[in-house]
């Protein structure tokens, strides 16, 4: 198992290296003068010079890259073009609301999506299956902001069950956190649930067609044992994989959801940065979300070893 762990951990090195190079080149290989674009049409010469300085665009590419890597290694993501404060601090200040919402969303998603997928596969080609599949395709098709605004309209403005927008930290008042986070989490979870329910169904259907399921049935065991002891465990690896790759959707969704529900997280930070053309923030967010994505997928890869003995040995 140790060998597998070491190989998986080492495998993320080239991936992260490519991420870092891509993010670096994104700015440097932009046709035209990125500083001019970032500064906007009304920029003065001094403003342009300040942006070039701040992004470190003056030197040759290798020098820039080395300096940039050195700063990254110290956790320095540069300074904001707008406020002039360090980006690392800006992110650290606003990461908690995003993380809290993300974790709650993940729990909601798995609690809803996996049972839906199992039921759809178990009752293949019945109304339950069709209902889950219809929900799934809807979830893929309706954009998260439309879902978000519809929820606000129905649950907050019409029914007045929940507050419209805003955020309260769980450490401050857990009840209020849940009350205010439930709509954004549901909106964010919709596409994720659609994806995972669909994948659960697909891999369950595949596993249910395997020979060892026929063996299990031939043993005369209860259908629930067949489904959970035998089928779901074997379907777990592809389900986990899709949870990992689907995490990219969650990141994209968080940016939108936070601005719909007015949550002061790093998604809002990104949106503000887009509007203000604050490139260092966008760059830092790109690196950070990629790093989180790679890390989560690494954890999922490692978890396979606990599920599948063929990986362990």
């Amino acid at each position: 198992m140790t060998g597998y762990f070491i190989r998986r951990v080492l495998a993320i090195v080239p991936v992260m290296a490519i991420v870092v190079v891509c993010v670096f080149l994104l700015l440097r290989l932009t046709p035209g003068d990125p500083a001019a674009i970032l500064a906007g049409d009304t920029a003065t010469a001094e403003q342009l010079e300040r942006i070039r300085q701040s992004l470190g665009l003056a030197d040759s590419l290798p020098v820039q890259f080395a300096r940039w890597l050195g700063l990254l290694a110290q956790g320095d993501f540069g300074t904001s073009l707008i406020s002039g404060s360090p980006v690392t601090g800006m992110i650290a200040q606003r990461i908690w609301p995003t993380l809290n919402i993300a974790i709650l969303t993940l729990i909601l998603t798995i609690a809803i999506a996996v049972p839906l997928g199992v039921i759809a596969a178990w009752r293949h080609r019945t109304w339950a299956d069709y209902a889950v599949m219809s929900f799934s395709v809807l979830g893929f098709s309706v954009p998260v902001f439309v879902i978000g605004y519809t929820f606000i309209l129905v649950f907050s403005l019409e029914l007045r069950w929940l507050p419209v927008q805003g955020y309260v930290a769980p450490t401050q008042d857990f009840g209020q956190f849940i009350v205010r986070a439930i709509l954004p989490c549901l909106a964010l979870a919709t596409v994720f649930i659609a994806l995972i329910a669909r994948m659960t169904r697909t891999s369950m259907l595949e596993v249910l067609g395997e020979d060892f399921i026929r063996t299990a049935r031939a043993k005369g065991i209860k259908e629930s044992w067949v489904l959970f002891r035998h089928a779901l465990r074997n379907a777990a690896v592809p389900i986990l994989t899709i949870i990992g790759t689907g995490f990219a959707l969650l990141i994209g969704g968080a940016v939108v959801t936070e601005s719909v529900f007015n949550i002061p997280g790093i998604g809002r930070l990104t949106v503000d940065a887009i509007l203000a053309r604050d490139y260092p923030v966008i760059q830092a967010m790109t690196l950070l979300t990629s790093g989180i994505y790679v890390l989560i997928n690494l954890l999922i890869d490692l978890s396979y070893a606990f599920i599948d003995p063929r990986i362990r040995y």
């Binding site: 035998h230 465990r233 003995p309 063929r310």
Partner: protein, 557 residues
């Protein structure tokens, strides 16, 4: 040697299973053709009843109907009855059927590699049967499982109990399946081709084990197989199935000696004899293929490669002369296909020489190899994947000649001739592979190979995927073509019977090496190597001459 049939009588024994006029059809399509059209069979305690038939005859559907395991929503029993312990199983609800499974009726399946849950320890998988059907406490369950593991003669049972399926061999997994099936001493064991995926030597052991446990517990066994040799070895009674009906049944010896039904006769006649055919004269002339010191090692390169290098073939030397058929025989993993694929250069040999038409092609780069491609052609095992499904037969047949620079019209004219030669109608040309049966596709694949006018045809298990009657036809075709064209054949097979019927010389491979190489008659009748003897000894039904409905005239030593 004499033939030992099981001439046991069961007329006094209690009837365990009584299937009466069972019909099975497609669910939701009452008007469609039936899958089973009135099957009746009766098995008594302690009896082994074999159901034999070719693919699509309905033998597996019969067994799944009894277990209540027909695929939901696609097949369903539409009439008749399955009597078991005074009840009609077709009338039972799901929970009543579940209570019977593994408790009263057990089943083992063909593919031991996939029939066990890969994520669960095998001991726990057996224990689950006890958990579902008994109230035994955990400690007793474990003792009972260990006892059962010992009964199926597994070594080191404590370790096996904790093993996962992928840590066991195919034979060991099938023993696990048998342990699982028999732990509650059911009255009926259904075995659906349980040894088909196994090598002959393992097959012999598993058949012996089933027989031993059956005698100890007085179990009735319903054994589904396509292999007449197995039937001759284990059956008390035999039921021959065709198109969803039983066309003939009776005591094993009666059916083998005096088959009444035309189809039974046809089936028996198609079983190749283990007695080597009359050897042909050695042909004069230079060797077409000379292989010297051929070696193939997998997993050598790469600093980070995890697995140790695996030697798939080594020290392989042989020659093939024009018009001769040379067989390579061996069990799975013996390296016989590796040798074939090296000779056709589908894989690159690690070392050694492969001399074809005066040139060593073992190390030629792809471009330089091209002119030598025409000399050696190959026919594969799986007829359903060996033709491009999107191409017309014509396009497949002229692919090779066009590569050689022959113009399309000439190639097409030649393709027409070749189709006639392999016994396919002319309108085959414009059709697509899915419109043909497996045997027909294999004929087309042979025609495609012959279009290159090769001097050597490599047949890599080319008849193994076919039913016996089709297999007999394709073998006859190959022998015809050889007589007409003087082509040499390198025949790779795991089946000694087939080798005996087509080969002039036979090489026996084991663990990547040739352990014996001689004329077919010498290898099969006077084997020198222990492994060859073991292989021949394990061949099912070897004392019987199926095609002539009698004992083999020539007894093997």
């Amino acid at each position: 040697m004499t033939v030992q049939f099981k001439n046991r009588s069961f007329t006094d024994a209690e009837v365990v299973l009584d299937v009466r006029d069972l019909t099975v059809g497609f669910a939701g399509h009452p008007d469609a053709a039936t899958v089973l059209g009135g099957v009746s069979l009766r098995i008594r305690a302690g009896e082994t009843a074999c159901v034999v038939g070719e693919s699509g005859s309905g033998k597996s559907v019969t067994s799944l109907s009894i277990m209540g395991l027909l695929p939901k929503g696609s097949l369903e029993a539409t009439g008749g009855g399955i009597g078991f312990e005074g009840r009609n199983l077709l009338d039972l609800g799901p929970s009543a059927i579940r209570a019977l499974r593994a408790h009263k009726i057990s089943m083992i399946f063909q593919e031991p590699m996939t029939a066990l849950n890969p994520l669960m320890r095998v001991g726990e998988q057996i224990e689950e049967v006890l958990e579902a059907h008994t109230a035994l406490p955990a400690r007793d369950r474990r003792t009972r499982v260990l006892d059962m593991l010992a009964q199926v003669h597994l070594p080191d049972i404590e370790r096996i109990y904790l093993s996962y399926p992928h840590q066991l061999s195919g034979g060991q997994r099938q023993r696990i399946m048998i342990a699982m099936a028999l732990i509650l001493e059911p009255r009926l064991l259904i075995a659906d081709e349980p040894t088909t995926a196994l090598d002959v030597t393992t097959q012999k052991q598993i058949l012996g084990l089933i027989d031993e446990l059956q005698q100890r517990h007085g179990t009735a066994v319903l054994f589904i197989t396509h292999d007449m040799g197995v039937v001759a070895d284990i059956a008390d009674t035999v039921h021959v199935m065709k198109h969803g009906r039983i066309v003939e049944n009776g005591a094993i010896e009666t059916v083998l000696r005096q088959p009444r039904d035309a189809y039974t006769k046809q089936l028996l006649r198609a079983v190749p004899s283990l007695t080597p055919r009359t050897p042909r004269d050695t042909q004069e002339g230079e060797a077409i293929l000379t292989v010297q010191g051929l070696q193939k090692v997998y997993g050598e390169a790469g600093i980070f490669s995890r697995s140790r290098p695996h030697v798939a073939a080594q020290e392989v030397d042989f020659t093939v002369h024009p018009g001769r058929t040379v067989g390579i025989v061996g069990e799975s993993g013996s390296g016989k296909s590796t040798v074939a694929r090296c000779i056709v250069r589908l894989i690159d040999p690690s070392s050694g020489k492969i001399r074809i038409a005066g040139t060593d092609i073992a190390t030629l780069p792809p471009r330089a190899l091209k002119p030598y491609r025409k000399h050696v052609q190959i026919v594969f095992q799986d007829p359903f994947r060996s033709l491009n499904p999107r191409w017309t037969i014509a396009r497949s047949l002229i692919e090779g000649p066009v590569n050689l620079g022959i113009d399309r019209n000439t190639a097409l004219a030649r393709a027409t001739e070749l189709l006639a030669m392999v016994g396919m109608p002319e309108d085959t040309l414009e059709r697509f592979p899915h419109q043909f049966s497996g045997g027909q596709r294999q004929r087309i694949a042979i025609a495609r190979a012959l279009a290159m006018e090769p001097s050597l045809l490599v047949a890599d298990e080319a008849v193994s995927g076919l039913d016996v009657s089709v297999q007999a036809q394709v073998l006859a075709l190959l022998s015809d073509l050889q007589a007409k064209l003087g082509i040499a054949i390198l025949f790779i097979t795991h089946d000694l019977r087939v080798a005996a019927q087509v080969c002039d010389e036979v090489m026996v491979m084991q663990k990547g090496r040739i352990v014996e190489h001689d004329t077919a008659a010498n290898v099969l009748l006077r084997p020198q190597h222990d492994y060859t003897r073991a292989l021949i000894g394990a061949a099912p039904g070897r004392g019987w001459d199926f095609a002539n409905f009698r004992e083999l005239a020539q007894a093997s030593p």
